[in-house]
């Protein structure tokens, strides 16, 4: 190290690591970096096993937090001003268009990534408790993850209202009306959601507070817990089925094991377990991977933001409804379910809002929550992609996911005016205009 570099480093550093091991230890001492263990197996670190979806989700959350705080400097949560402030962000605030697009794209991506992360965890059976891992509690972490999925959707949904445009207002109306279809307490739930009987200033301030303070704080806490639990569960489930060999090691010279009461004599045989997979120290192997994931996640969000605009429709108006009015894409499958389960028998309409909008998704979440405790597949399936012994449950799970995907596709791409089906190449009927 040159003298000048040494001098410049001495301004900010009191010590610099001499080896990878020291650097790794340094990470362990750092509150921000100690989440990762000093050594990680190649399998845990691989792209193929986890696709790093959890880390990507966390990074997207960080991008959202940063861009969100910037937007807060301009945004005014008032029904008179909100829409205009977004127009200002779009047209006159320096780089405002970019920050807003990043916030929106990162939000969509985060919902998608968290969802994909859950699919990955299910398909690799990583939520399971195994006999080997007696101190771990992976089912609990699955539950935290499930809560994080719901929180992510809620965060995105609460943010959806804030621009106070037609898209926002009517998407929220759909959600509120689905909530209203709950028997007995439906009306109260809707009242609570809206802060009144209609969507207005009260709704906006409630959703704003949830969006910028309450939900991010809970989410941050749960993310920390989620990641801490991975360490406490013994790392990723990927390592569970890696063979372990027993190795005779040499005692460290100079230690008096007799005094420590471990063994008799001075030179005992030390046995330890060694995983039969290559491992790497945090620095540089894992750190490199984190860097790559960070750079590419940022690059994807920046690319989308640079080339694709995000919607801002007409100012919110309860006087007229856009046709079709759609919920955000991650709730569109519910809107489709509501459509499917709405049945007309001899002029009597059975509203599908409750069945399609509450019962079916509620059951799915409940089933997901209890599944780790019902799953009886053998330990050999933990941490393995699509093992043959879990073929039935993985198939059923994938079918549900595909069904949700198909419903989202129908809702977002095929649905046109009056909720009719229009193929992408079919033109929608002309909407009358004012002038």
């Amino acid at each position: 190290m040159s003298r000048s570099r040494k001098t410049s480093r001495s301004i900010f550093w009191s010590w610099s690591p001499a080896s990878g091991r020291e650097a790794t230890q340094a990470v362990g001492f750092n509150i921000l970096l100690h989440w990762f263990p000093a050594k990680i197996t190649d399998r845990s670190r691989s792209w193929g096993y986890s696709a790093w979806l959890g880390t990507i989700s966390l990074l997207l959350f960080a991008i959202l937090a940063i861009t969100g705080v910037i937007l807060m400097f301009v945004y005014v949560p008032s029904v008179e001003r909100a829409y205009h402030t977004i127009k200002d962000v779009e047209f006159v605030v320096s780089y405002g268009w970019f920050i807003r697009r990043m916030h929106r794209w990162a939000a969509h991506l985060m919902v998608a990534c968290v969802f994909l992360h859950m699919i990955r965890v299910f398909l690799t059976g990583a939520y399971k408790k195994s006999r080997k891992n007696i101190h771990g509690n992976r089912p609990l972490n699955w539950l935290i993850g499930l809560a994080l999925l719901l929180l992510t959707m809620l965060l995105s949904y609460t943010g959806y209202l804030l621009p106070w445009d037609q898209l926002a207002l009517w998407a929220i109306t759909i959600g509120a009306n689905i909530a209203r279809s709950v028997p007995v307490i439906g009306e109260q739930i809707r009242f609570l959601m809206q802060g009144g009987t209609i969507i207005d200033q009260n709704t906006l301030i409630i959703w704003y507070t949830l969006h910028i303070a309450v939900l991010p704080l809970i989410t941050t806490g749960l993310i920390a817990w989620h990641m801490w639990r991975i360490r406490k569960d013994g790392g990723l489930a990927a390592i569970e089925n890696i063979p372990v060999e027993e190795v005779k090691g040499d005692a460290i010279p100079g230690k008096t094991y007799t005094l420590m009461g471990i063994t008799q004599g001075v030179r005992p045989t030390v046995l330890y377990h060694r995983i039969k997979d290559k491992t790497g120290l945090f620095v540089p192997t894992t750190l490199h991977r984190i860097g790559i994931v960070l750079l590419f996640t940022t690059a994807v969000v920046m690319f989308l933001s640079l080339f694709f605009s995000v919607p801002l429709e007409e100012a919110a108006s309860l006087e007229w409804t856009p046709n079709p009015a759609k919920a955000p894409w991650y709730f569109l499958w519910l809107q489709e379910l509501v459509t499917i389960t709405t049945v007309r028998v001899r002029g009597i309409t059975l509203n599908g809002g409750f069945v399609g909008g509450v019962v079916i998704p509620g059951l799915l979440v409940l089933l997901a929550a209890v599944w780790p405790y019902l799953d009886r597949s053998p330990d050999s399936t933990v941490g393995v992609w699509l093992p043959r012994k879990r073929v039935i449950q993985n198939t059923v799970f994938l079918l549900i996911i595909i069904a949700i995907g198909v419903l989202i596709f129908i809702g977002s791409v095929l649905r046109g005016p009056n909720w009719g089906i229009y193929m992408p190449w079919e033109a929608w009927p002309h909407h009358p205009t004012m002038i």
């Binding site: 037609q166 007229w320 004012m434 002038i435």
Partner: protein
């Protein structure tokens, strides 16, 4: 493995760097900066460096919260208040008739969208002109005006003028709207419609007609453009064609009249204008209750005069021949029938059909006047078509007297 990761790190860094450059370039090369450069070059050439030096670069915004105006149009339209650029291409031309508008509607107070519509917030051409999805009020363009049969945007802009000038009886430079206001007065629309608190409820209230949204109209019988403005035009030309069961009379308005009236309808908006911006002093208001039509002396017993001045003519038609099937023709009706009906309407005995509209109009008629107008109508000749209809009716009556009477 290690090498691949390092390569990826480099690729990722380069990607983020390039994208960052892209963002910087996009922000710095916005359309309006190009226009400003062009404009300064143009002014330098035409009006000299002194004027060019006075052009301030950067975003220009007119903000008037009282009018709800946030207009950034003059970021590109820099020349609107600089005389001498009348013949330049947009966005650099001087505003036509600059002296008049500078005096009456200074741009720094009124902005642009107050009269022209469009999206004042926007700083990109397409967005600013409102020619994008999700903007309800696009800027008026010559192409748009021609679609409706106007020569230029003048009449379209009058829709906006009249939002403030609503209470004017007649306004300078608002010919299309002035024509429509004359028609409203001539035909006394408040006989059937409430306008600004005056009138009756036979037809829909029109006070805030211009604030309705497309979904409140049926367009399946409207020919041409599917817009509210065109709906009104078509409806004024032939109400029953657009709205099958309409009770409105077909006044046989000309294209020009129908266009003017449609513009007037669109201008009657609910948005309130800050009092300070209303034209002052208020001139006579169309919707004020007007004095009951007085019958000129010497004509008190003149049937045709009574028929016209008591507005019978509005629905029952010129010479007693109704133009729609909705209201009966009275030409050639039996004298005694007319006298009885008029007396019953006057006294309030008759309550069916539109007695409530007619009652206030005939209540001050004397017996002699009733006799005079009935005589006038009974002596008028029916049209051939009406004679045929009457014959048919008689046949029907002969066939089943009870049923027909009930139906009537």
């Amino acid at each position: 493995m290690k090498l691949r990761d390092e390569k990826l790190l480099v690729i990722g860094s380069v990607l983020v760097f390039v994208l960052t450059l892209g963002v910087l370039v996009k922000e710095q090369t916005v359309e309006w900066k190009k226009y400003q450069k062009q404009f300064i070059r143009l002014v330098n050439e035409k009006l000299g460096p002194k004027v060019a030096g006075s052009v301030e670069p950067g975003l220009h915004q007119i903000w008037n919260s009282r009018l709800g105006v946030t207009d950034r149009c003059q970021t590109c339209h820099l020349g609107i208040d600089i005389p001498g650029l009348e013949n330049e291409q947009q966005p650099f031309a001087t505003h036509p008739d600059l002296e008049f508008y500078k005096k009456t509607h200074p741009f720094k107070d009124f902005g642009c969208t107050t009269c022209h519509d469009g999206q004042g917030y926007a700083t990109r051409v397409k967005d600013a002109h409102g020619e994008v999805h999700h903007w309800l009020t696009p800027m008026y363009t010559t192409a748009m005006a021609r679609e409706y049969g106007f020569d230029d945007i003048g009449p379209m802009v009058q829709m906006k003028c009249n939002q403030c000038h609503r209470k004017d009886h007649q306004t300078e430079r608002m010919e299309a709207i002035n024509l429509a206001k004359n028609l409203v007065e001539k035909h006394n629309c408040t006989i059937c419609h409430i306008i600004g608190g005056q009138g009756r409820t036979v037809g829909p209230e029109l006070t805030h007609e211009g604030s309705k949204f497309p979904e409140e109209f049926m367009f399946d019988r409207v020919e041409g453009k599917q817009s509210i403005l065109n709906w009104h035009m078509e409806h004024f030309k032939n109400p029953q064609k657009v709205s099958k069961d309409s009770l409105m009379i077909n006044f046989r308005f000309s294209d020009e009249e129908a266009r003017g009236l449609a513009l007037l309808m669109m201008s009657w908006k609910k948005d309130s204008v800050a009092a300070g911006f209303l034209p002052s002093p208020y001139r006579s208001d169309l919707t004020k209750p007007r004095p009951a039509p007085t019958i000129p002396p010497g004509k008190e017993l003149d049937g045709p005069t009574i028929y016209r001045l008591k507005y019978c003519i509005t629905c029952h038609g010129e010479k007693g021949r109704s133009t729609t099937g909705v209201y009966p023709s009275l030409a050639g009706q039996t004298y005694y029938y007319l006298v009885n009906q008029l007396n019953d309407i006057k006294s309030g005995v008759r309550k069916w059909r539109n007695s409530n509209i007619m009652q206030p109009l005939v209540q001050d008629l004397t017996d002699e006047q009733i006799a005079a107008v009935s005589k006038y109508l009974s002596e008028l000749r029916r049209s051939g078509e009406q004679t045929a209809q009457a014959n048919q009716k008689t046949e029907k009556r002969n066939a089943s007297p009870e049923q027909t009477q009930k139906a009537e």
